[in-house]
């Protein structure tokens, strides 16, 4: 069995759903952050796969993937900073307690 585009997409979809599910169910902010990473990586896998199989003569997908990785790193750093501040203020990282955005 040759590994085709479909396989990559299935893996990415599984990763995406897992990340999404993690974001929805976890109350721990760090857990949510892990979910976000999963979603981002799923998108990255899709990008790389689509680039490899749909336009091998072009590098758009690869470059975008690198951008996403860089952005994810920056976002993670930022998110961790927010988490630390939330913890400082609320003595917890339980996102259900951080509900001051409620309308």
């Amino acid at each position: 069995m040759t590994i085709g585009l479909t396989h990559y997409l299935i893996v990415a979809a599984i990763m995406f759903v897992a990340g999404l599910f993690t974001m929805m169910t976890k109350r721990n902010a760090i857990g949510i952050l892990i979910g976000v990473e999963l979603v981002l990586n799923a998108a990255t896998v899709n990008l790389v796969a689509f680039d490899r199989y749909m336009g091998p003569d072009r590098l758009d997908g690869q470059i975008t993937a690198i951008f996403v990785i860089v952005l994810a790193a920056a976002e993670a750093a930022l998110a961790v900073g927010i988490c630390i501040n939330v913890y400082k203020n609320l003595s917890t990282v339980d996102v259900d307690r951080a509900n001051s955005l409620r309308g």
Binding site: L5, L20, M23, M24, T25, I32, V95, D96, A98, N99, S100, L101, R102, G103
Partner: protein, 780 residues
């Protein structure tokens, strides 16, 4: 003499009482009881009297040197303001009349001020719980200022201003004891009655202002004469009222002011009531000076009077002098008796002016001022001595207790009665002045129809008199051409000083003769006057004391009888020798150039008297008849008088009630006014208020509708509705905003899924070719 010295002296005399007034108002309470009074005497009247004396002698010198006409013409005057095109002048009227009046007023007023110090020391100076001694002298000073200003003013506007000021002072002084009801009513009556006359004055003043275009007395007269000659200005108007032309209305209007101030017949009611004021006030204001202001005014505006206006003046004067003399006969109050006598004498003056006896009337004014002021002071002395008893029926026999008062009062009685020896120049004031008025009115009534014959006759008769020379001079000086045209004309003698001389003197072609009954009434009154005066004197001083209580207390004090003695001497001597030449000079010097100058008393009296012996003895001897009658009736007390009273009961009642004029005024004016007020109130309540209330109710309903229904439910409803719905919408919108991140994610995922499914569904149903192509490309 330096230029304008006399004017400056006159002005100083006018202003000194004003300074005294302010000083007393500001510092009076600190000066205390006698000091404030003496301050008033010295500065309120002493300084003016000094000024007046200086002016009198200065003027006499000028007259002797023949400079007086130039002084009159060059008297200081300036422009105070310009109203429209008409300059309102301010200035000093400097002529013999002013000098005589100024001296008379200051002289009499000085002694009355002096008397007041004595009077007030015996009177309470408490008014409404406050000590007002100083205020009395402040008011007196203010009066002195106003009266002297009135005499000196050369412009009608300023004359009017001072005119109102003397009215105010009269008001204030009548009601000096304003905490008592009687003076209160008296002061109101005086003021309101004067307002009626002053309104006429104002109308006359406006006519002068609009039609003559000047308010200066001399200029106005000149313009008036020119307009009369050319038929322009006020004579061009065809307006008439009561058959009077506009020019006549102007004269009558000005005379109305005099009617109020000099208390002439229909407006006389205030003067007897004004006797409620303190006695010095009665003597000063309501006998000697202020009431004479009306006569003075008529004399001053004499040149603005048409024959019709003068006839009206005569009529009013004649009615006043007769009716008031009759009332005086039945008065029992000594002051009231004098008041009615004053009214009657003022009537004589006004009658004299209307008849053309300009000189005689003014001369009578001055002699009357002397003896009437003196008699009022005498009555004040009597009232004071008798402990405020004013009823003559309770007096009697006072000559033993008050000899000086008795003798001075008698001098006054003799003077007012016109005592003298007919045919000679021996007599007291009234003998010359009143008899002269009668002589002139006789001439106007009986010999006026044929003026030419009249003139010839009296030139011939009176050859021995210096005055006749004057007549000739006057008549010769007048324009011969006009003299031929109209005989019944005036002569005018100031050709030397007045550039408008031509035609100025002879204005009116047909001056009518005086009705004969006027002369008869005046003659009749000449017999009444001595009767009531002698009656008053006899009842007060002669006979047996009728009330022991009053008699016991009777006394007199030097402070009060010194002025009496001085004024008595003035009555006897000063009047004829001092004032008569001055006034005659005022007339001949042109300041009174009048339409009846040709028969002026100055000119013709001795002639008339000499020509008609019955007149000479009939008028000149009247005093004897009156005196004897009075003495005959009241010799033995009141018995005969009471008998007469019962015999003539209806007449007596009529006179005692003063012809019911007060009652008539009460019914017509007071009640009428109240009736009008009631009607007005009815109309107001039932018609005006009704309409207003109707509108108000309608407006209220409408407002309620607008406010409660339209605004609250309409406008507010819309506004609140918008607010409420947006709030409700906000509530709905905020529901999904839980603040739980997972909810947001869930929502985002759900929406994304739905969108994805929709797209999928849409493209699957669209076309298979596209689908196949996609699949093919995907599958590659």
């Amino acid at each position: 003499m330096a230029e304008h010295t006399l004017e400056i002296a006159l002005a100083a005399g006018v202003l000194s009482p004003l300074i005294s007034f302010w000083a007393l108002v500001l510092f009076g309470p600190k000066l205390g009881k006698p000091v404030a009074g003496w301050f008033g005497v010295v500065f309120g009247m002493g300084v003016p009297l000094a000024c007046a004396t200086y002016v009198l002698f200065g003027w006499m010198d000028a007259m002797n040197a023949g400079e007086s006409a130039a002084l009159t013409a060059n008297a200081w005057r300036g422009t105070w303001a310009v109203l429209g095109d008409v300059p309102i002048t301010i200035g000093v009227k400097l002529d013999s009349l002013t000098v005589a009046m100024f001296f008379m007023v200051t002289f009499i007023a000085f002694w009355i001020f002096f008397f007041s110090v004595g009077y007030m020391s015996g009177h309470s100076d408490e008014v409404a719980g406050q000590r007002k001694y100083w205020l009395f002298f402040a008011y007196l000073s203010l009066f002195a200022f106003s009266m002297l200003g009135l005499v000196v003013s050369s412009s009608l506007v300023f004359l009017f201003i001072f005119w109102e000021l003397v009215g105010l002072c009269s008001y204030l002084l009548i009601g000096f004891y304003f905490d008592k009801p009687v003076p209160q009513y008296a002061q109101m009556k005086a003021f309101i009655t004067n307002r009626v006359g002053d309104f006429g004055f104002l109308i006359g003043l406006m006519l002068v202002y609009f039609h003559l275009g000047t308010v200066d007395l001399d200029e106005a007269a000149t313009v008036f004469a020119q307009q009369a000659a050319s038929g322009t200005g006020i004579f061009a108007s065809h307006f008439t009222m009561f058959g009077w032309s506009l020019a006549t209305i102007m004269g009558v209007g000005l005379f109305c002011g005099a009617m109020g101030k000099s208390a002439q017949f229909p407006l006389h009611v205030w003067l007897p009531d004004a006797m409620a004021g303190p006695t010095p006030v009665s003597a000063l204001i309501h006998a000697a000076t202020m009431v004479a202001a009306g006569v003075y005014l008529v004399a001053r505006v004499f040149r603005l009077m048409t024959p019709d206006a003068l006839m009206f003046v005569s009529l009013i004067g004649c009615l006043t002098l007769t009716l008031m003399a009759l009332v005086a006969v039945v008065q029992t109050d000594i002051k009231k008796c004098l008041a009615y006598s004053t009214l009657s004498q003022l009537g004589y003056m006004i009658f004299g002016l209307g008849s053309g006896a300009w000189v005689a009337a003014l001369f009578h004014l001055i002699t009357h001022a002397f003896f009437k002021a003196m008699m009022f002071l005498g009555s004040g002395q009597v009232i004071e001595g008798c402990h405020h008893e004013q009823d003559m029926r309770k007096m009697g026999g006072l000559w033993k207790k008050m000899p000086v008062t008795c003798i001075t009062f008698l001098v006054g009685v003799l003077a007012i009665a016109g005592t003298g020896i007919p045919g000679t120049k021996i007599g007291l004031g009234g003998f010359f002045s009143k008899d002269e008025i009668l002589a002139v009115s006789y001439a106007r009534a009986f010999e006026w129809e044929d003026p030419e014959r009249f003139e010839e006759e009296h030139h011939g008769d009176g050859g021995g008199h210096a005055e006749v020379e004057l007549t000739k001079r006057v008549l010769l000086a007048s324009d011969p051409v006009q003299h031929d045209n109209d005989h019944a004309e005036t002569a005018h003698s100031d050709h030397g000083t007045d550039s408008h001389a031509a035609g100025v003197g002879r204005i009116f072609a047909n001056t009518p003769a005086l009705p004969k009954w006027m002369f008869y009434l005046a003659l009749f009154t000449a017999y009444i006057t001595p009767f009531y005066m002698m009656r008053a004197w006899w009842l007060t001083f002669m006979g047996k004391p009728r009330d022991d209580h009053v008699y016991e207390h009777a006394h007199e004090s030097p402070m009060m009888y010194i002025p009496l003695a001085v004024l008595a001497v003035g009555t006897v001597f000063a009047s004829y020798f001092l004032f008569r030449p001055l006034i005659a000079d005022a007339a001949t010097a042109g300041s009174a150039a009048s339409l009846v100058m040709a028969i002026d008393g100055t000119v013709h009296t001795p002639a008339i008297m000499a020509a008609h012996h019955f007149l000479m003895y009939g008028v000149g001897g009247a005093f004897l008849v009156g005196f004897l009658l009075a003495i005959a009736i009241y010799r033995n007390g009141l018995a005969v008088g009471d008998k007469l009273k019962r015999a003539l009961a209806p007449l007596h009642t009529l006179l005692e009630n003063k012809y019911y004029i007060d009652e008539l005024y009460d019914i017509v004016f007071v009640k009428g006014f109240l009736l009008i007020a009631k009607i007005a109130r009815f109309v107001d309540t039932w018609i005006v208020d009704l309409i207003v209330n109707l509108f108000a109710a309608a407006a209220e309903r409408f407002a309620a509708f607008c406010g409660l229904i339209l605004d609250k439910h309409g406008v507010d409803g819309v506004v609140n509705g918008v607010a409420k719905s947006s709030r409700d919408f906000g509530h709905i919108v905020r529901l999904p905003q839980t603040g739980q991140i997972r909810h947001y994610i869930l929502a985002a995922t759900g929406v994304a899924t739905i969108v994805f499914l929709c797209v999928l569904w849409a493209s699957s149903g669209a076309n298979d070719v596209a689908m196949a192509a996609t699949t093919a490309s995907l599958g590659r």
